[in-house]
């Protein structure tokens, strides 16, 4: 079973995305801060990471940068997830090395499909 690490500081969002993932057959790991998320990525080596951009300590782009700088885990796909992004955010995040990008509020009917599309691509 594939394992996803979800880094997200809002409890409700966390509950929602993990629920959708679990029901779709993924195992989930949860981290609520950028630092603990990065730590968990190193310790647990998940199959992919879902990353909120607004985090309380270091923000998502910083987490992403650290993951990409770490040889052990730099190959793990990272999917960014953030509230109603401005035009341009998408490009910025992709340039920073994330594999794909999902806008919040997430569409519960489609998010898994979006995610798998990104993971396949």
């Amino acid at each position: 079973m594939k394992r996803a690490l979800v880094i997200e500081d809002n409890n409700d969002n966390m509950a929602l995305i993990t629920k959708l993932l679990n029901k779709a057959g993924y195992e989930t790991l949860e981290a609520m801060t950028g630092l603990s998320g990065f730590q968990m990525a190193q310790d647990e080596r998940p199959d992919f990471i879902i990353l909120d951009i607004q985090l309380p300590d270091i923000d998502g782009t910083e987490v992403l940068a650290r993951i990409r700088a770490d040889e052990q885990i730099q190959a793990i796909p990272v999917i960014a997830m953030t509230s109603y992004a401005m035009a341009g955010d998408r490009e910025k995040l992709l340039a920073a090395g994330c594999n794909g990008y999902i806008e919040k509020p997430i569409n519960p009917m489609k998010v898994i499909e979006q995610l798998e599309l990104i993971l396949e691509g």
Partner: protein
């Protein structure tokens, strides 16, 4: 030790604050052994005792239901133990003894202690809450138990703290009460000096019983409420089972339980801040605040080489609340200013908020506003203001704002610059300059310190004084918010305490305005030195009694003005309720009232002055009542009014169909609205808003407008018409600037607490402020106009009046800027905060609809679909409103990139295709060519999609065509449908907000009503293009837009 404890508590609260919604269920990992399983089967009922009067831990509510944190835990356990646990509520002593005697099987709310182990097995604690000292708000801060020596302390009967106090603090007098509520009551009415106990319980009672004069002081370490479950000694098996079940309750579920019961203390340390702010703060080792090194008494290096002054005392007060995170770095202004600008330091003291600085700093509200004065020789002729400095030499500090001010506006004044205030004043003292102008406090401090005996304060400058705020680095907006919250938490008394040590108190009264009275009027006044006056003592901030029993508020300031102008004294009756005040006035025991709205009924017993203030009246509702657009919506609701207020009379007369519930005071009404006893309250927006903020009601909102405004007049006894004339003259003579000042002083009162934790209220508060400023600005403008008219008539007065108006306009501009800021703030909150809950609404209803949480039946599906659709609709609406606001505020970012138009059109067509297919509409694209664009892809897509979705909505059969044509540098993009068409007279309305044309399709069509409005905004304001529409009724419609193919960056260069 203390610090460690408080840190622990901090974490505890942090954990409690996290929002959760959760349902109890046993996890798969909960496994009982065969032995345990057998034991459980042998015991289908287990009786567990809880306290019956210890909210929110455990209590029995007024319907006889057991409630509380313990009860919730029992529920969570029951979900795992098949509902075996049966609750028996009772007084502590009784249930405790029952378990000892084994008539009950277990007990919630018990603190494990060795001396109890003879009769109980204990589980691990399920909740730990610190014990705190509570005292009245006017008491000096009580940090620890030893501060209470010689005092009387109230506690609950039989609680462990009684023993601690008796054993270790024999000189504290202990009084025992039957319940926490009784103990707090005794404290509130002065029977005891303090109460000691569980913070959560006390806060809950203070909040729910509105004990306004009691607040938490220090935390004690001697006891805390460590609640575990105690199990009868002969049933060790049950202890093991309960522990397993407790362990199975997840952290999230625990938090959900605690969160729903614990009242968050408002003033306690650290808890001012939201989760996010606390975590942010936690991530910083220290925050470096820059302060000037030589600007006494504000900030300077003291003789001990350490930062001193008002600023550093203020930092100390902030540090008390922020765990000492702030560190002062001193230096000369220019240097520290630059270091904060570059982000090398984090914040700066003593900065005056200016638009030009906003690029680099966020500003808190000012913590001080010190007037600028003119200082000259004692023997010199009095210099009232700037105008009298013509031809004179003025000493100023180098680089200070005053230098520019005088150079630009008073070129006839010659200026000498000195390196600091001390040197400038020295120059005046020895005659090198005629006068000095600057911050009064600084000047007086230097004069006193350096004993410059030959100088004195002359007049005051007409410009605004030193407005001092804290500026924070732009890339740390969170810091600005945190400091603002902390500043707001520092009470006026505490702030006064800080300032008074350094600055001489202000003694002068504002100059009274001149009024002309006839001889008759003068002699009448002379015969009435004291006028017996009545006011509403519970109507803040308009009028109310402060803690010392003095009348305060807007009316009080007006009275003070009138006293100076008329030489009379208004003796205010202070111990009467409003209803008694009016009655006394009717009986002739009072001569006048400060605030009474003219009504038909009241004209029988009172004469009225002109209206001197207007306060809008709004509808406030509790949690269950949605937005009401007007009074008609309130039919059938229970509506509170304050008995005897004009609203009471007016509503009773004009809306006889309302069920009015008269109450004595605004606060009484709010209590009833909050508890749901009545549905709504109609009252002054200003006053009610004030009390909601002050009392921290989070479930009351402004639900609508009434169209009424409270018209504040003074009322005078019928047989004193002379006084009405005199008061009218005097009120008219109060200058507009002074009126503005009075209103500003009281209206800008910031609420001390409450809404940090509740989004809705936060938005409402912003809305109220925005609304108030609107109203205030309208009124203000009217007064300025009047001022200007008067100014033209009188030659001598003309210059001064004009000047006043100029200041007023400056003020007004400042206000407008604030307004704009508030608006952006509002938008920012909208975008961040409104979407988050929507995420859950849409997300979880979507999850339910997909059957991810189990099967649902057809009816449930139908209901859920409504929730889901409504959520998505709301999301669209919010997105549109945010986009529009951003464009209007000039804050939208245009993201330009080279893009193929074909991609955008294909995307849009692909998106809309399913909807078109649904209605069997043919969707096609006609293009002469496919130009390359430089444009904002997302925004153009948004416009096209909007046209397309309109076309699909309003077309029942036929086709929809997208046309692309290049016209030189321009692109023309249009959508033509074969729909119902638009009547000619309706076409101009199309691009207005919320215009939905009448048609049989309207209801069916849905939509936000903002689409075309937003499209036009984007096309015109972002793309500098135009939109157009052509239509024929029943034939079809073409919506189009023309935009440059290459959009220029705002600075002129294209991508």
């Amino acid at each position: 030790m203390g610090k460690q404890k408080s840190l622990l508590a901090w974490f505890f609260w942090l954990a409690c604050l996290v929002t959760f919604s959760f349902t109890a269920h046993a996890s798969a990992s909960l496994k009982f052994s065969d032995e345990e399983q057998a034991w459980l089967e042998a015991h289908p009922k287990i009786h567990i005792g809880i306290m019956n009067a210890w909210p929110p831990m455990d209590y029995v509510d007024n319907k006889g239901q057991a409630q509380g944190i313990g009860v919730e835990f029992v529920r969570a356990l029951n979900a795992r133990l098949g509902g075996r646990l049966k609750i028996t509520p009772g007084p502590w002593k009784q249930t405790y003894e029952a378990v000892k005697a084994r008539r009950l099987d277990a007990l919630m709310d018990i603190t494990p202690r060795p001396d109890r182990e003879a009769w109980f097995h204990f589980t691990e604690p399920y909740v730990i809450v610190p014990h705190v000292i509570f005292a009245r708000t006017d008491a000096a801060y009580i940090e620890q138990l030893s501060d209470l020596r010689g005092r009387t302390v109230g506690v609950e009967r039989g609680f462990f703290i009684v023993k601690v106090l008796r054993d270790h603090y024999p000189d504290i007098e202990v009084r025992e009460y039957d319940s926490t509520s009784d103990a707090l009551d005794a404290l509130s009415r002065g029977e005891t000096h303090a109460y000691i106990g569980n913070r959560a319980v006390a806060m809950y009672i203070i909040e729910s019983e509105l004990i306004a004069n009691v607040q938490p002081h220090g935390k004690i370490t001697e006891t805390s409420s460590t609640n575990a479950i105690g199990v009868r000694k002969d049933w060790p098996m049950l202890r093991g089972i309960l522990q397993k079940a407790l362990d199975d309750i997840s952290t999230n579920e625990r938090r959900a339980i605690l969160r729903s019961w614990l009242v968050i203390p408002k003033t306690a340390y650290g808890l001012l801040l939201s989760d996010r702010e606390q975590r942010w703060l936690e991530s910083k080792d220290e925050i470096r605040v820059a302060a000037m090194d030589n600007w006494p008494p504000f900030n300077f290096i003291g003789s001990d080489g350490r930062p001193s002054g008002i600023g550093s005392d203020l930092i100390e007060a902030i540090n008390l609340r922020l765990d000492g995170k702030l560190k002062i770095v001193s230096g000369p202004w220019k240097q520290i200013y630059d270091r904060v600008k570059t982000g090398e330091l984090d914040a700066i003291m003593d900065i005056t908020p200016k638009p030009a600085r906003e690029e680099f700093f966020n500003f808190t509200t000012p913590y001080l506003d010190i007037p600028h004065v003119i200082i000259a020789h004692k023997a010199a002729a009095f210099i009232p203001d700037e105008d009298y400095l013509s031809g004179k030499t003025l000493a100023l500090e180098k680089g200070f704002g005053n230098v520019r001010y005088f150079r630009e506006r008073y070129p006839e004044v010659s200026i000498r610059e000195y390196r600091d205030t001390s040197h400038a004043l020295g120059a005046v003292s020895r005659g090198e300059a005629d006068a000095y102008a600057g911050n009064r406090s600084v000047a007086l401090y230097v004069i006193e310190k350096e004993v410059i005996a030959n100088l004195k304060v002359h007049g005051r400058l007409n410009k605004s004084g030193s407005i001092l705020a804290i500026g924070t680095r732009k890339d740390w907006p969170m810091l600005g918010d945190i400091l603002q919250k902390v500043l707001d938490d520092i009470s006026p008394a505490e702030k006064r305490g800080i300032v008074i040590q350094w600055v001489m108190p202000e003694t002068e009264m504002p100059a009274a305005s001149v009024i002309t009275l006839t001889d008759e009027e003068k002699s009448w006044l002379a015969s009435k030195p004291v006028i017996r006056t009545g006011a509403d003592i519970s109507w803040a901030p308009v009028e109310y009694l402060d803690d010392e029993g003095n009348l305060q508020g807007i009316s009080s300031d007006y009275l003070k003005q009138l006293e100076t102008m008329l030489g009379v004294r208004f003796e205010v009756a202070k111990d009467l309720s409003w209803q008694e005040t009016v009655a006394a006035f009717e009986r002739g025991e009072l001569d006048m009232l400060t605030s009474l709205q003219r009504t038909a009924q009241r004209e029988n017993y009172a004469d009225f002055t002109e209206v001197y203030n207007r306060f809008p009246i709004a509808i406030f509702t509790g949690p269950k009542i949605p937005y009401v657009s007007d009074m008609e919506d309130m039919k059938g609701l229970k509506v509170g009014v304050v008995e005897g207020y004009a609203t009471h009379e007016i509503l009773a007369r004009e809306h006889p169909d309302l069920e009015l519930v008269p109450v004595a005071r605004v606060v009484d009404a709010l209590k009833k609205v909050s508890s749901g006893e009545i549905d709504a309250f109609v009252g002054s927006l200003l006053v009610t808003g004030y009390y909601i903020g002050q009392l921290g009601y989070t479930n009351i909102k402004v639900a609508g407008e009434t169209g009424y405004a409270y018209q504040q007049s003074m009322a005078v006894r019928k047989d004193w018409p002379m006084l009405v004339t005199i008061l009218n003259k005097a009120l008219a003579a109060i200058p507009a600037a002074e009126r503005v000042k009075i209103n500003k002083r009281w209206i800008s009162v910031r609420y001390e607490h409450g809404f940090d934790y509740d989004l809705l209220w936060k938005l409402m508060a912003v809305t109220i402020v925005v609304f108030l400023i609107f109203i205030y600005w309208n009124r203000h403008l009217a007064s300025i106009n009047q001022e200007l008219r008067l100014a033209r008539n009188q030659e001598q007065a003309a210059r001064r009046e004009a000047q006043q108006a100029r200041i007023a306009i400056e003020e007004a501009n400042k206000k407008l800027m604030e307004l704009d800021q508030l608006k952006s703030m509002f938008i920012a909150s909208m975008s961040h905060e409104l979407r988050t809950p929507l995420n859950s609404i849409i997300g979880f209803s979507g999850a339910l609809l997909q059957g991810l949480s189990g099967d649902i039946n057809a009816e449930q599906r139908d209901d859920l679909q409504r929730v889901y659709r409504a959520g998505n609709h709301l999301l669209d609406l919010i997105s549109d409103v945010i986009d529009i606001s951003k464009i209007e505020a000039g804050r939208i970012e245009v993201f330009l990139q080279a893009v193929a138009l074909k991609d955008i059109v294909d995307d849009a067509v692909q998106t809309i295709q399913p909807l078109a297919d649904n209605k069997q509409l043919e969707l096609s694209v006609e293009a002469d060519s496919w130009p390359e664009l430089v444009t904002d892809r997302k925004r153009l897509f948004q416009c096209l999609l909007n046209y397309l979705s309109n076309a699909v909505k309003f077309t029942e059969q036929g086709q929809i065509v997208v046309r692309v044509s290049e016209q030189g540098e321009w692109l023309d993009l249009s959508v033509t449908d074969s729909g119902i068409g638009i009547a000619e007279q309706d076409i101009p309305k199309l691009f207005e907000a919320f215009e939905r044309l009448e048609s049989h399709l309207r209801l069916k069509a849905g939509g936000t009503g903002l689409g075309l409005y937003l499209t036009k905004k984007i096309v015109v304001e972002l793309f500098h293009g135009e939109t157009y529409v052509e239509s024929k009724l029943d034939v079809g419609t073409t919506f189009g837009l023309r935009i440059p193919r290459v959009i220029e960056e705002p600075d002129g260069g294209s991508l």
